[in-house]
């Protein structure tokens, strides 16, 4: 009985007009993309440091998001999921051997307007990836350490430790005049 009912439901979905579904899908995809693409792109950039790879990562992340059947509890949950997928995608890229055999052009310098910005940005980008991502998520995206722990899969203590060490490294690189 239930099975037959389910079949009817699936059949109903199957016979829905393709155009209608495509239209609804496109609207929903655009909404998701517009909402998150900046965050995804910027986080990806902190890992790969170049536009082309960041754009590739962004594309893959959104394709995964579109294909994802997960039901998110709230917006924060969805954001966290997307951030986590972005990080995983970026790590996959960094681990790929194709990536290891290439030297990506660092293009972030193009966005710096003052020498101070250049120094600070490059100091952050010189940090190991795990510190870089924590700095980005904490200071730029404004996540709490608990949220970062959830996104990155680390413990909150580990995140706090990494944040502390990252600050120390930045101070070491930029001198005493650097202030968080």
């Amino acid at each position: 009985m239930v099975r037959a009912f389910l079949y009817q439901l699936m059949k109903l979905r199957a016979i829905l007009g393709k155009e209608v579904r495509d239209f609804v899908d496109t609207l929903e995809m655009e909404r998701i993309y517009d909402k998150y693409h900046d965050s995804v792109y910027r986080l990806a950039f902190t890992y790969c440091k170049n536009r082309a790879d960041a754009e590739d990562i962004t594309s893959e992340v959104f394709l995964k998001r579109f294909a994802c059947r997960k039901v998110f509890e709230n917006e924060r949950h969805e954001t966290g999921w997307i951030m986590r997928v972005t990080i995983n995608q970026a790590k996959d890229l960094l681990r790929s051997f194709r990536y290891r055999f290439t030297v990506p052009l660092e293009e972030a310098a193009l966005c710096c307007e003052t020498p101070e910005e250049h120094d600070v940005y490059h100091a952050v980008m010189e940090l190991p990836a795990k510190y870089r991502s924590v700095i980005h998520l904490f200071y730029y995206e404004g996540y709490s350490t608990a949220e970062i722990a959830s996104i990155t899969g680390r413990s909150e203590t580990a995140v706090r430790t990494q944040l502390y060490r990252a600050r120390g490294l930045l101070k070491e690189a930029l001198g005493e005049e650097f202030e968080i």
Binding site: V2, Y41, F62, A67, R69, K91, T102, I135, G153, I180
Partner: protein, 537 residues
Amino acid sequence: MKGIQQYCSVVDRLKQDPSCKQEVLARASRKKISVSRRGMITGTAVAAVLLALNIGGGYMLHRSAEESGTVTSEASEELVTAVVTATTAPGTDVTAVVTKAVTDHSAVTKTVTDRQTNTVTTGNQTVQTGTTVPAATTARPETTAASATETTPRTTLTTAAVTEAQTTTVPKKTNAEAAAPEAGTAQRAVFDLHPLSRDYRKAEELGLANNVYYAEPGESFMMELGVRNDPGITNMDLRLTVSPELGLTDLWTSLEYSEYGKLQHLGTSLYYVNTNPEKQEAKAIASVAIITVTAPETPGRYTIKPDPSYSNGMYLDPDWGSPAGYVFYGLDIIVGADGTLPAAAEPFTDQTERTAPPENLTDPERTKYHFGDIQFRYETVEAQPGAKNVPVRFYLEENTGFAGAILTIYDAAGVTPSIEATVTGYAGCERVKLDDGDLFGAVQASYNEDEMETRLVFGTEDGLDTTQVGLAFTLYFDISDRVKPGQQLVFGFYPLDISDENGVDITERCATVFGGIKIVDNTKPMRISDDLPIYRF
């Protein structure tokens, strides 16, 4: 003054090229991705509500990026000699030897001896033999029908008999008969591929091997993999032979089997069900999965059918001691139909009595049915329930040269990797205990508990021959107490990224051959690895 605000200012100015948005949307459209909560609202969302109410019968809200990609089956056209184990034990009724010709689907030779009816079936023909299959028969896999008969001499299945069978026409056993329970045995499971909510012609009624669906050129429809008389599947490695013109997308897992969604599209046409232990119950009728199929524009006949050469087994029942054969009806998709039906053929019928693990898995020569320029294989070992640190060695058998590789290994049900140490800086992952092999530098391993996936990264060391073969590495696993003697734990084992010295992706040239961990009786002395034949290079 320098501050973190300056970092934020720079990041603020990072803007993605606006054209990327259209590109992503176009790719999503090409992949026929449908946004879940809106596009599927009329079907899946309601089904999900039903499932949430524990009504059952719905489909998993689960799909990975890999699954969403269009699947073609180029590799399926490269099938090599089939190796299907047919093993029977005293008191059993049937034995089957199935062979399959290299790369030629039409040349499938199937030899089935049925003790009940004393018939020999070859291809789509059946003859009476007048002989009785001895009860205790172990048919080892062979590469030709003739050699197969050598392993079952008491069946009087000679080459001549096979030849005669090929040329003699007699009324063949109907599919219904094939699927019907035999006296003294459990009912045989019947797998069935058919379009969902569309009219199609049933193989059982037509006496064909496959259901028949007449599709419009370019039509997309949902195809269900259903099963009847399921005795309680624990694992199912299902390899489908798919006409390369067909596109397979949108794999939906049925919650009736896999609460944590381990039905996956892996590689070209391989689906793996790792059943939730709580779902391992007998079912009269159930649905395993729904897959979206896109027919080509070109008129013709296109087929999706099981690949009997995939000898890890369509499924393993909870204990190997009970009869667990199955019948599988595939699906013929006819585009530009003129109303003619495909030629008659028997459905693939596995009548194997799984009273013992397949012998062929211990013999490396018989497991080489995937070929590639670079070929990995992992061995078959034996272990008792609850065993700790069971080593499984991974070999590189064929190697035309590569610089580095990333492999992924999905855990089998019933094993967990032995944890050695935590690797810092790798989110959510812990290191699997692992010994480096002879060939490479340090092998980096990470384990993702959520995905039950181990990833291995390694590269050849400078100055070493990149084409050498041998032991690549060894992984260690803990065996669950809940596994039963006779079970075969098989890992998913796939290359993710293999590059040559110039960084060129050569992943598609890589093949993997599966082994497994056989669970043996607690009361017997345990043998692990060293007692079993290991392929030396």
